[in-house]
Each structure stands twice: as C-alpha cells, then as structure tokens.
C-alpha cells in the first residue's frame, strides 16, 4: 500500500519502524501452530518427566526419581548401548560406501546417468517396506545360500541370532541411507576443480595417492556433514528396526526411540518422558558439536 514511505521510514528510523500487517499475517499463524504442535508437547513432556503419571488419571511430583531410576535400568542402558553402536557402525558403512560410489560415479564411466538413477532409488522407498522385503530375504533366501556355501553362521536366519541381528539392521539401514549421502559426496567431488588433478598427474602422483591426499582433504567438509547428519538420523532409528526385527530377538535390537514410544502402552509414560528428555539433551550436544565442527567451512 504505502510502499515508498516504508522505504523512507526504514532509512530515517531504522529501529522502530512500522511493520506492514501482512508480514505479521505471514509469520504469526505459523508460529502459533508451531508452538502448539512442537513447543507445548515438548514442555508438557519435560514437566511430566518429574511426575509419576501413567498418561491418564492422577499424578504427583516425584522429583528426579525417574532420572535416577533411568541410570540403573538395564533395559534402558542396553537400548542406549545398542543404538549408539548401531548408529556408529551404520555411519561408517554408509560413508565409506557412499564415498567410493561417488568417486566411481564422477569418474569417466559409461552409463553414468542410468547408474545414478538406480543408486538413488532406495531413497524414495518407505523404510518399513524395505525392511519387510529384506526380512523375507534374510529369513528365506540367505539361509539357503549359506547352506549351499557351507557357511554355518548363515545357514540359520541372521534375524533370529541375537549376535547378528544388528548386522542385518546395519545392512538394510545403509541400503536406504546411502543415496542421500552419495548425492552430497557427488556434489562435493564435482566442486573440486579438475586442474588440481592435472597438476598432480604432472608431478607423478598415482590415482590412489590423489584420492587420499587431494580428494579426501578437499571434500572433508562434506564428510563431516554426512557423518553428523547420519549419526543424528540413525540415533533416532525406528521404522526399519520395527519392520525387520521389531527389537528382537528378545530385546537385543531395541532402539532408544522404540523404548521411549513403548512407554505409552507400558504405563511408563512419565518414566519414558525422562528418557526422552535425556535423549533430547544428547541430540542437542551432538548438534552443537556439528555447528562447531562445520563453522567456517565453506561448502
């Protein structure tokens, strides 16, 4: 409406200028919805973590009792141990494989576009459906293969072996997570100027040397981003575990998310809210580490 004047006031009085009503209408509804959908549930959860609520009915404050109990609960400790081990293993597998695939896909190869198309497909499929397909393969096809090859460990289903079920989870999670990581690495590798390699060629550096001494340091920023994004995602793992092992055999592959969410049916509402609060604090710490590590790195 009075647009030229808005510009003038901005110049004259930059501090307390008049904000056009439309801008409030653009922002405030989102802020209200956001507060109702995320902030308030978050605060409600933290509040109840100091009570003995079971989700419905009466409750009273019990201070830090839930938190104290958490640290000596073997089920909770096991879920943290499993989730962190699983997340770290998956991050390493995903990044190593993605990086090598990205190097391959950016080199002089044939069928570049069809290959890229294929490698990205897993990204668009639902995690739980992937898990069910692999569950079938692990239960019905792999044991037969193991038997035929005479590998004893593989002749029974990996999923019913408490020591191996996590390996199956790493494989399936990696299968789905590689495309996203791969695309970031491809972007990183394409940003490396070609003349760097020409110079290295002239100096007589071999291809593996170039990869290790030139490529890797130049895309290190992308490695850090991928590692931390991946770690955050895998720590929250739920869908694939739910489909593939449902936390089993026993409770050997129960993730933190599954433990927390189980609290609603198990009558452990307040207790699992304390668990969720701890998990939230851990996520914040990891995110802050991310900001520290990536600050100043230009991508």
């Amino acid at each position: 409406m009075s647009t030229p004047t808005a510009g003038q006031t901005q110049a004259v009085r930059p501090r307390r200028r008049h904000v056009e009503p439309l801008y409030w209408w653009f922002l405030v509804p989102s802020l209200i919805l956001f507060t109702l959908a995320i902030t308030i549930p978050g605060l409600v959860g933290i509040f109840f973590s100091f009570t003995d609520s079971i989700g419905v009915g009466d409750w009273r404050f019990i201070g830090l009792t839930n938190y104290v109990a958490l640290f000596s609960d073997p089920a909770v400790l096991q879920s943290y141990l499993f989730t962190f081990g699983f997340a770290i293993a998956t991050v390493l597998v995903v990044n190593v494989v993605s990086f090598m695939l990205a190097v391959g896909l950016t080199s002089r190869i044939r069928l570049k576009t069809p290959l890229r198309t294929v490698f990205v497909i897993p990204m668009v499929i639902s995690g739980i459906i992937i898990a069910y397909v692999f569950q079938f393969l692990f239960n019905n096809s792999l044991p037969g293969l193991g038997e035929a090859l005479g590998i004893k460990v593989l002749s029974t289903s990996m999923l019913s072996n408490p020591d191996l079920a996590w390996v199956a989870l790493v494989i399936v999670t990696a299968w789905q997570a590689i495309p996203g990581t791969l695309l970031i690495y491809i972007a990183g590798l394409l940003a490396v100027p070609g003349d760097v390699y020409e110079a290295a060629d002239i100096d007589g550096a071999t291809k593996p040397q170039q990869l290790l001494r030139i490529t890797l340091p130049l895309v290190f920023g992308y490695v850090v981003i991928n590692m931390i994004l991946g770690l955050k995602n895998f720590l929250g793992a739920y869908d694939i575990i739910k489909g593939l092992t449902d936390g089993g055999p026993g409770t050997s592959t129960r993730s933190i998310s599954m433990t927390i969410v189980g609290g609603f049916n198990g009558g452990d509402y307040a207790y699992q809210m304390a668990n969720a609060t701890i998990f939230f604090i851990i996520t914040i710490v990891i995110s802050l580490a991310q900001l520290r590590l990536t600050r100043g790195r230009s991508l």
Partner: protein
Amino acid sequence: MAATTPTPAAPAARQKIRITPERVNWSATIILILCAFTVLLPLYVTISMAFKSGTQAVDGNAFSLPNPISIEGFVEAWNLTNFPVGAGVSALVTAGTVAGTIFLAAFASYAIVRNWDHKFFRYSFFYLLAAMFIPFPVVALPQIQLTGLVGLANPGGVILLATMFQLSFSVLLFTAFLRSIPYELEESARIDGASTWQTFWKLIFPLLAPMSATVGIFAFLYAWNDFMMPSLIIADAQLQTLPVRQNIFQTQFSNNYHVSFASYLMAMSPAIIAYLFTQRWVMEGVTQGAVKG
C-alpha cells in the same frame, strides 16, 4: 580385466579426429554395475514375488521368475488391506504436508527476511529453526496425548505435525534463497504500485520455484514414506497410511508371499514412478537442500 582389452581400439580411432577424450574407465563401470545389482535385486524380488500365483509363491523361492504370471496377489492385497482407502489417506497426508510446508514456510521466510531488522522476526527465525534439533520420539508421547484430546488423532493431525517438523528445514532453505534475490527487483515492482501481497504472489513466489521444488520433494518423501508418526498419531486403523497398513497386515499375510509382496509393490510404486519421471529435479533438489542445510 578381460573387458579392458577392447577399449584401447575405440578411443584410438577417435583420437585421430579430435582432442583425446579421456579413456573410459571400464573397470569402474563394471564394478558400479555389479553394485547396482544390490539395489536392483530386492526390487526384482518384490516384483517377481508379487506376480506369482499362490501355489508358486508358497515355496518361498525369491529368485525364480513368476510362472505363470498371475495377478491374484494384487487382487487379494487390494481387498485385504483396503488399498484404495490407504492410498487415498496417504495421498491426502502427502498433498497436505507438501502444500502446507511450501506455503507456510514461504510466507514465514518472506516475512522474516524482509523484517530482519525487527527483533521479533529475527528471534522467530531462530525459534523455528530450533525444531531441527528435536527428534520426533522426544515429543511423540505428549503429541499422542494432546492430539487425542483435541480430536486430531487422524490424518489431519499427521498433516499438521509433519508440516511443523518440516518447517524448520524449509524456512532455512527459503530464507537462504530469498537473501540472494536482489531487493532492487522488488523495489521496482513496488514503485509500479504493487502491494506487498501482489509483490509476493506475482514476483517473489514464482522466483522461489526451484527452492519450492526442493522443499516439496523433501516433504513428499517424508510424508509418503513415514511409518512412525502416522502409526502413533492416527487412532483409527481404517484411516491408516499405506506404510502403516503393511505393518498392520503383516501377520495376516503370513506365508502368502504373493499377497504381501503385491501389497508392498503397490505401496512403493507411486513414489518410484514419480521419481523416475522427475529424477533430475529430485537429485538436484536433494543435493541443493543437503548442502545448504
């Protein structure tokens, strides 16, 4: 190794005509093709199992071709899981989340960027961004409780929550993009007498299109494929999305592998087909989003 032998001949012939096209790396090509099979194999198994007849599927042989090709699995899965309703709910949740995320995030980002000198707008930006650090499980239990209380334990509630979770990342992408649009462009529109609403709608929003595509793709992949949130929020199993339906009927599928795989295939194919038609945008969008975010 054997495959490398024919290569020198081809580039050598071309070499005479033009500047050396660098040699095709055949060993890398072959290794990558082999790797691609690990991606294609589960998809092949899904498709071939889905088209088997009940009598053939029951042996659980994953790699045999369907013989005869049968669609009885699809018919049974369609009726058992009530596929049309599931697909409808999934489509509704996805469309609602994509539209909600694009519009709300674009509106909010525009207001924030144009009023950056105003404290309220600046702090709102950081407030919205904070949700990027909140994993869904952390707020899931209170959200189940609260959506139940206000009558949102249905696909509508999922649209609202999914949109709000997508908002942080999307606002981050939009604000970064908006800052790169020169203000002079907008000023000239305003001098011509356009209101803020007109400026946004006719000038800014079309300019945002590439970023809207990125934001939309992320929202689509999340809303269409997510299992955890709808499974916890939607109370009525009849109104569940496709991924959750697979979980509900998993025990009923039991050894009718042709039914279960037909059901999986129907649930995953819309996203795969959409991807095959838009793959360039998807790849560019995801790269852009991930690198900026």
